[in-house]
């Protein structure tokens, strides 16, 4: 089955060229594109923007953890298994603080980890770009820019011409499968 073209991928020499190319593509009006690099490049943040819900998700999960720990302890110590220990109040909340803190951290960390996987769509063991042999370099020293075919500005000939003008090392047409 061939679902057609995924996009055009260009390999650049270094981070500076990749950033320049991404910026140029952005100015040309391309939106559906992605830059690939062997380490994070902060300059790309504004060129290829994305909404980052992760901090909010982590905050909510953390608060949920706090609430869970409180309900758990209050529920057990006051409702279900009340136990008089040396005349202390059943709801001896100061001693509940530690587990509330621990579960806050546990839930928030779980959300940070699994949230990242969720937002990034992982695990995703296949991706059209993996068909480009040279793309293996991206986890070592390769810098790639891929303009996707579903961008409304995308035109195979024009986009290829545009990318070639940026002076990439090489250029590939990437098929879906």
């Amino acid at each position: 089955m061939n679902r057609g073209l995924y996009g055009l991928a260009a390999e650049f020499d270094d981070a500076a060229q990749l950033v320049a190319a991404a910026r140029a593509a952005r100015e040309q009006g391309y939106h559906r594109m992605e830059a690939y690099s062997p380490y994070p490049i902060s300059d790309l943040d504004e060129i290829i923007p994305s909404r980052n819900f992760l901090p909010a998700v982590v905050l909510i999960a953390g608060l949920l953890g706090t609430a869970t720990a409180w309900v758990l302890q209050y529920g057990i110590a006051v409702w279900r298994y009340p136990l008089n220990v040396g005349g202390r109040p059943l709801n001896s909340w100061p001693s509940f603080i530690i587990i509330m803190f621990e579960l806050t951290v546990l839930f928030a960390s779980g959300a940070a980890f699994f949230g990242t996987l969720f937002f990034a769509g992982f695990p995703a063991l296949y991706h059209p770009l993996f068909r480009v042999d040279r793309f293996r370099r991206v986890s070592q020293d390769g810098f790639f820019l891929c303009i996707e075919a579903n961008d409304y500005r995308f035109d195979l000939r024009e986009t290829a011409h545009f990318l070639r003008e940026l002076g990439p090392r090489s250029l590939w047409e990437v098929d879906h499968d």
Partner: protein, 466 residues
């Protein structure tokens, strides 16, 4: 080839070698090849097999000891009333303390933008994970009926019993299990890009598949990097208070009781400082052989040794301060039991532990004031071993000398370690060593993507070399 030429050209104005975080003249390809070759192509060094044999031997001893313990019961430990805690809890506190330096390096130094940590954080995090695994073993073995360890968790049951949430021992269950989980998530998240590198360099189809699955399909997209970075920072922010809380909660196991020598407000900071102290000692004990066996001196440089040694010296001084304050608070309290504990520690039947602690943790580490001792690997290794021994002994001293002399002289008793006590202690070292060696063999021991960021030409605007 243009890239390499450009990268080589970027090596201007070399700084003095010792001060560098990484050696000059490295390229992205060099770093990737050097670190991934340990896993993928280089033959496993002879020393690795030797150490692995030792580790497995000790691990076997642990298995035998634990089997005997399960079969015969905790009486095989030398414990009895009043010394119901001894080696097992000492080992627990020691191991969990060792883990703390890994989290300090990976979380606190990340938040403080200490980029020198980039080449040591990966194996330090692995150290944390394995140290916590060793630590977790002991409270469970110590339970008496280890197979009922799940009773520690509040789960719906028909026994009409639930954990007592006012007890620090239950807090500890939550603190340690949270710490283990968060350490694992943080470690794995940080490793995903490097697992992708291993996937992309693997020539063996089996290795390609395994690393491919573990890398989850990482492809270095800028959005993925952003989420990865956000998540790392958030996890670091969460792990920072967590790591301080874990040893605080461990110290609550002691301070919440009323036993003389334990019931003290100085314990939480004192325990945390001691934890980081022993943790940095373990980082050095692992880093020094690692860099010489695998030739990683260009990535784990003298600057790393020097910085770790300085942190060890600093935390050691905090611990030394606590040793000075303890007798003072006892004296100032006017409580005769408290004063007796101090006297008993320094002059009682186990006085040798007290003086070993003072020698190993306070006096000998003062050698670290001299720079030669901080950057000379052999000397630093020896000092780190001394600190590890001292810190184990410190926990032993706190636990045993307090328990064997409590309020009523008629129950005073002297603890003596048994073969099982020793077998479990050394066996846990075998477990740690085995896990660590397997990690070194099968995972990238240094974070490749974070070291790439340290290279001068990594920034688009050509930032300067740090």
């Amino acid at each position: 080839m243009k890239l390499e030429v450009q990268q080589r050209r970027a090596q201007r104005e070399p700084e003095p070698g010792a001060a560098r975080v990484i050696a000059p003249g490295l390229t992205f390809a060099d770093i990737t090849a050097q670190i991934s070759s340990i896993v993928l192509t280089r033959p496993t060094p002879f020393v690795w097999w030797g150490a692995f044999a030792v580790g497995m031997g000790l691990l076997l001893m642990l298995v035998v000891a634990v089997t005997a313990l399960m079969y015969r019961g905790v009486g095989l430990f030398g414990i009895n009333i009043p010394v119901a805690w001894s080696f097992a809890i000492t080992n627990f506190v020691w191991w969990i303390g060792i883990g703390h330096a890994g989290t300090l390096i990976s979380a606190i130094l990340l938040l403080l933008n200490q980029s020198w940590r980039n080449s040591i954080n990966r194996f330090a995090e692995a150290m944390t994970l394995f140290a916590v695994a060793c630590a977790g073993l002991f409270p469970i073995l110590h339970l008496g009926r280890p197979w009922l360890a799940y009773w520690l968790f509040p789960y719906p049951n028909t026994m009409t019993v639930q954990p007592q949430f006012r007890s620090p021992l239950v807090w500890d269950v939550f603190a340690v299990s949270t710490y283990a989980t968060v350490s694992l998530l943080f470690w794995y998240l940080g490793m995903i890009p490097d697992l992708a590198t291993l996937r992309d360099r693997a020539t063996n189809p089996m290795a390609f598949r395994i690393y491919g699955i573990l890398a989850l399909g990482w492809r270095g997209a800028s959005r993925h990097w952003r989420w990865h970075e956000t998540a790392s920072k958030l996890l670091a922010g969460l792990a920072t208070p967590l790591v301080l809380s874990v040893h605080t909660v461990v110290s609550f196991d002691f301070t919440i009781s009323i036993l003389p020598g334990w019931h003290s407000t100085i314990f939480p900071p004192y325990f945390v400082a001691g934890a980081i102290y022993s943790g940095f000692a373990m980082v050095l004990v692992l880093a020094i052989p690692l860099r010489s066996i695998y030739g990683l001196e260009n990535l784990i440089t003298e600057r790393h040794l020097n910085n770790c040694a300085k942190l060890m010296l600093t935390t050691g001084l905090i611990v030394g301060y606590a040793y000075c304050i303890e007798p003072f608070t006892s004296w100032y309290s006017g409580d005769k039991f408290e004063m007796y504990v101090v006297h008993n520690r320094a002059m009682g039947p186990d006085a040798w532990t007290y003086w070993t602690v003072i020698a190993c943790n306070v006096i000998i580490p003062q050698a670290l004031w001299w720079k030669r001792n901080r950057i000379e690997p052999k000397r630093l290794f020896a000092l780190a071993i001394v600190v590890l021994i001292g810190m184990w002994m410190e926990r032993y001293m706190i636990i045993v000398t307090s328990l064997q002399r409590d309020f009523v002289p008629s129950i005073w008793w002297n603890f003596a370690a048994t073969v099982t006590d020793n077998a479990v202690l050394y066996g846990s070292m075998g477990l740690f060593l085995t896990l660590f060696l397997l990690f070194v063999r099968f995972f990238p021991v240094i974070s490749m993507f974070e070291v790439r960021e340290l290279l001068p030409f990594s920034k688009p605007d050509g930032g300067s070399e740090r």
